[in-house]
């Protein structure tokens, strides 16, 4: 087992290319290093440490966007008032990822590339129309996060590409909600969750733990766009059945997930007693 210590992003790309895409990018390690001593199959691999690359740790603003470097941690965003004010769901979701120790190491990009359907960072980024900026020795590529996943743990990132940044367009939102339903308040893997936003760009409803990937719910978005009458949680069910395909697993059941999704979404968007 070996570790590579690139001194900048360019060198990181070169090292990754030289390994033929086999080196594993390592950021906070909060997914990759769980039960490390027992992960025998990983012990022979080469890790490319990204955790000290200053370029990836930067949070920047352009006229039109917030640009989170590919190594920005939850804790960094939680400590940045401008970010939390402009994108409140980053704070809301960030505080619910693990606890301080995880937030201090875990990165938004790691959450994206780990590609868990239960990821909590991904839905809020997707509800803000995030664009993933990838880089390799062969050049740059941009992929909207909502088109990034192809199937369970499958994504359009190629093994020689690094996430250089995640870009969020600056918009005025009049609706921003994030819900995480888990077995307890803290340190829990999500049973189901969603993020929803509304801006001049329209509605975004993004569900997690409801399909093989975190995904946008286009039928629900369309219903909201057209102002279809929604009086009870049940009115959302036909659209939910179109948009997602939850499964029964150790954390919950498909039926529970659909039902609670309809109720929490209804409560968040339509109920007077918010």
């Amino acid at each position: 087992m070996t570790m590579l210590f690139p001194s900048d992003l360019e060198e990181a790309c070169e090292m990754l290319a030289a390994s033929d895409g086999k080196a594993v990018p390592l950021a906070g390690g909060t997914d990759l290093l769980v039960h490390w001593p027992q992960r025998f199959e990983d012990h022979g691999r080469t890790f490319l440490d990204l955790s000290q690359l200053a370029e990836l740790r930067a949070i920047r603003w352009s006229d039109s966007a917030l640009i989170l470097g590919g190594g920005v941690t939850y804790w960094q965003t939680l400590g940045d008032r401008a970010v939390c004010d402009a994108f409140p769901l980053l704070e809301k979701a960030g505080r619910q990822v693990g606890a301080v120790q995880i937030q201090a190491r875990g990165t938004w990009a790691g959450n994206i590339v780990n590609a868990s359907p239960a990821a909590d960072g991904v839905p809020v980024l997707m509800a803000y129309d995030a664009v993933v900026e990838l880089v390799s020795t062969q050049g740059e590529e941009e992929i909207p996060l909502s088109e990034f996943y192809l199937g369970y743990k499958q994504m359009r990132r190629r093994p020689n590409q690094l996430v250089r940044a995640v870009r969020l367009p600056r918009r005025r939102h009049d609706v921003e909600v994030f819900e995480k339903i888990g077995p307890r308040r803290a340190q829990a893997i999500t049973k189901l969750g969603f993020a929803a936003t509304h801006s001049a760009a329209g509605w975004r409803v993004v569900a997690n733990s409801m399909a093989p990937t975190v995904c946008r719910c286009r039928t629900l978005e369309g219903m909201l766009e057209h102002g279809s009458p929604i009086r009870r949680p049940e009115d959302l069910m036909p659209a939910i059945r179109q948009d997602v395909s939850p499964i029964d697993d150790i954390r919950s059941t498909a039926q529970y997930r659909q039902k609670v999704f309809s109720r929490t979404l209804f409560h968040a968007l339509f109920s007077d007693e918010k």
Binding site: M1, G29, F47, Q52, A99, I102, A104, A186
Partner: protein, 157 residues
């Protein structure tokens, strides 16, 4: 690229410069306990849940079971051994410790909260301590000890 490569890894540990040779792929937790003779940092779960292995990396609590030592090169690591005994008085007297397995980690996160009271504008003590599991105390003693330490800091000049 399959042959393990050894190299010099240096970092600041409890205020002292440390240097040793290795691949960098050992867990920080194991290096502290078995190579550097600092067994204060404990292993509970090995998966980032329990916080028994909490140390400060550049002043912020992290789980040393989820960090490979190569990742802390040139950075500052502080362990429970660096905490002065008198910094723990409130935790002693509030019943924050029973079996003690969680205590080193609790102390490290608690010190962080006590040293950064501004964090409490956006999060509660309970939320900030959520990464430290305790099977004995029921948490009230821990939370009360921290609250008491915060009151002391406020009243001391």
């Amino acid at each position: 690229m399959t042959k393990p490569e050894h190299r010099d890894i240096g970092f600041t540990l409890n205020g002292e410069e440390i240097r040793f040779s290795g691949t960098g792929t050992e867990r920080l937790l194991d290096v502290l306990r078995y190579r550097l003779g600092l067994p204060g940092t404990k292993e509970g779960c090995g998966e980032g849940e329990c916080g028994a292995c909490t140390v400060h990396l550049d002043g912020v609590p992290v789980n040393s079971c989820l960090i490979l030592v190569g990742q802390v090169r040139n950075r500052r690591v502080d362990t429970v051994e660096s905490v002065a005994p008198e910094a723990l008085v409130e935790l002693h007297t509030s019943g924050a410790t029973q079996c003690g397995a969680c205590t080193p980690g609790v102390v490290m996160t608690a010190r962080f909260v006590i040293d950064h009271p501004g964090l409490l504008e956006r999060a509660s003590v309970r939320q900030l301590m959520a990464g430290n599991l305790c099977r004995c105390t029921g948490y009230d003693g821990i939370i009360e000890g921290i609250a008491e330490a915060l009151r002391q800091e406020e009243t001391s000049p």
